[in-house]
């Protein structure tokens, strides 16, 4: 079943044509990785899918509904989550408060103006469950700005998970990590249940091939091909322009 469908998506800034007629279909449960050299328009694509940037033209469907005209926060309500390339957290708050804010986005009482937030027991319980599941429970009272970089990356994912998404857009989840941190982190990502579809932007080819079951190659703003990891590996042309050209900076 197709969960996310991108149809003839175009995005340009003034004369700069960044995305050209991009068509991608993502099925439910897929681990869909988007690769491409720097400047290929990967993050712009995410921003367009998520609504952070308006499209120049084209359509985006989520579970059959068109979503390209609705504001971002409504896309979250419809089950789309995302993480950011650079850490994008509430640095002055504790881990627990971060997660509570994230969970509360789905609650009706998020507009309550009288009852103190810490008095909601269901919120506390859910928060605890999530933190235990992702082994962050010991760090719950630490200010986010005092966490290690890897922990912050993990918290990024926990936050996007706490909105109960059907699909998460992960923008370079392992960027800036050491190799050991990266392999640990890949294991954690693999723990995300199959029911949640993942769309991942990634540079690290090891990570790409260990996570992906579908890969789209984005080159100069066009989706050159979408195929299984094996096909991508075997494709001569991709090898040429991509791996051979050395545009991919991971060595």
């Amino acid at each position: 079943m197709t969960l996310l469908k991108i149809e003839d998506l175009n995005k340009s800034f003034k004369a700069l044509h960044i995305l050209k007629d991009v068509n991608i279909e993502i099925k439910k449960g897929e681990r869909h990785v988007i690769i491409g050299p720097n400047g290929a328009g990967k993050t712009t694509l995410f921003n367009c899918i998520y609504g952070t940037l308006p499209l120049s033209s084209g359509k985006v469907y989520l579970a059959g509904d068109r979503i390209d005209h609705i504001p971002s926060f409504k896309r979250t309500e419809k089950g789309m989550g995302r993480t950011f390339q650079k850490n994008n957290l509430f640095e002055e708050l504790t881990v627990e408060e971060n997660v509570r804010l994230a969970i509360m986005g789905k609650k009706k009482y998020r507009l309550n103006m009288i009852k103190p937030m810490q008095n909601y027991t269901d919120l506390a319980a859910e928060c605890r469950r999530l933190l235990e599941e992702w082994e962050m429970i010991d760090r719950r009272a630490v200010l986010v700005k005092e966490l290690s970089y890897g922990e912050q990356r993990l918290l990024e994912i926990i936050l996007s998970l706490s909105t109960n998404p059907e699909i998460i857009l992960l923008d370079e989840p392992t960027s800036g990590m050491s190799p050991t941190e990266t392999s640990r982190f890949v294991k954690l990502i693999k723990k995300i249940p199959e029911s949640i579809t993942l769309v991942i932007i990634e540079h690290d080819m090891e990570v790409v091939f260990s996570l992906a079951n579908k890969i789209t190659v984005l080159h100069h703003g066009t989706a050159m091909m979408t195929a299984s990891p094996e096909e991508i590996r075997g494709n001569q042309m991709i090898q040429e322009i991509y791996f051979g050209g050395g545009a991919l900076s991971h060595d």
């Binding site: 998520y50 952070t52 504001p71 971002s72 926060f73 409504k74 979250t76 309500e77 989550g81 995302r82 950011f84 994008n88 957290l89 509430f90 640095e91 002055e92 708050l93 504790t94 408060e97 509570r100 804010l101 994230a102 509360m104 986005g105 789905k106 609650k107 009482y109 998020r110 507009l111 309550n112 103006m113 009288i114 009852k115 103190p116 937030m117 810490q118 008095n119 909601y120 009272a141 630490v142 005092e146 936050l159 996007s160 706490s162 909105t163």
Partner: protein, 331 residues
Amino acid sequence: MKKAFLSTGLLLITILILPLFISPFLVYLSTEILVFAIFAMSLGLIMGFGGMPSLGHCALFGLGAYTVAILSEYTANIYLLLGAAILISLCFSIVTGYIAIRNKGVFFLMITLAFTQVLFLITSRMKFWGGNDGYSASVTANFGFGEITSNMGLFYMMGFFFVLSYFLLKLFVNAPAGKVLKGMMENEGRMIALGYNPKTYKMIAYLIAGSMAGLAGGLYIYKTQFVSPALFSVHMGAEVMIMVFIGGLGTVFGPALGAGAFVFLQNYISTMTDRWPLILGLLFIAIVLLKRGGILHLIQFVTTFGLKLFKPSRSRNAPVDKQVKGKEQAS
């Protein structure tokens, strides 16, 4: 909730006993401080918790004041008058908020300021209600148990509303909506990604602040018996903004402290020299360049520092422990 009750109780007691210790003129001055404290706290909400700097917040204060002054010709019922003040300010907040909140930061500031200035020009140029000269209203507060005419009576009246406003704000900032607002200020992009609509929360805060400023404006008339377009001037907007900053941005009580400090300073410095605007301006610049917080931050810093001296073993990495201890100390 407990915390809010406790601090409110303390505040209430302070206000109750204060007049026993101070001179009649200080009672008069404190009445003004209390009104401005409500006003400053309302601005503190949108600035310190919502990240919306406004130089035009005095529009809502002024509207509240004008509403009470004008309607007092038709009714003396204080509930109706203050209700109307809140309502009118609320309506104006809805219109300006709807337009201004679509824009962030400076554009928000410019739009609110421009609206305020238009009010300034309209009130100063209009033929009725005194125009530039202002408008005298004789209003006497009567809540159903006798007229309040003495300075002392007015002090307690303002004190009551001040404590009430403080309590409500305290509840708000600790409730989900308040927490979301603060999160929004810190990282709006992330809050959107979590499914929150930023405009809703900003609007809520703006409306609360607007009604509260309207209330403060309405109360102000009971003290001064007089309104004038000066209430809508940039000066007024800048003054209340500096109250928020010297008191402590991002706290509920800070702006109230700032109001106190400001009114005192202004009163005594302007007695000594005509160069008050110069001093005020330098104060603004100093606050920015020194990058320090307000009075409340200073007090917090001093107390934290003091506590650390006594209990040097407590580290930041043992926050659970810290929480428990904190609670013990408070109760």
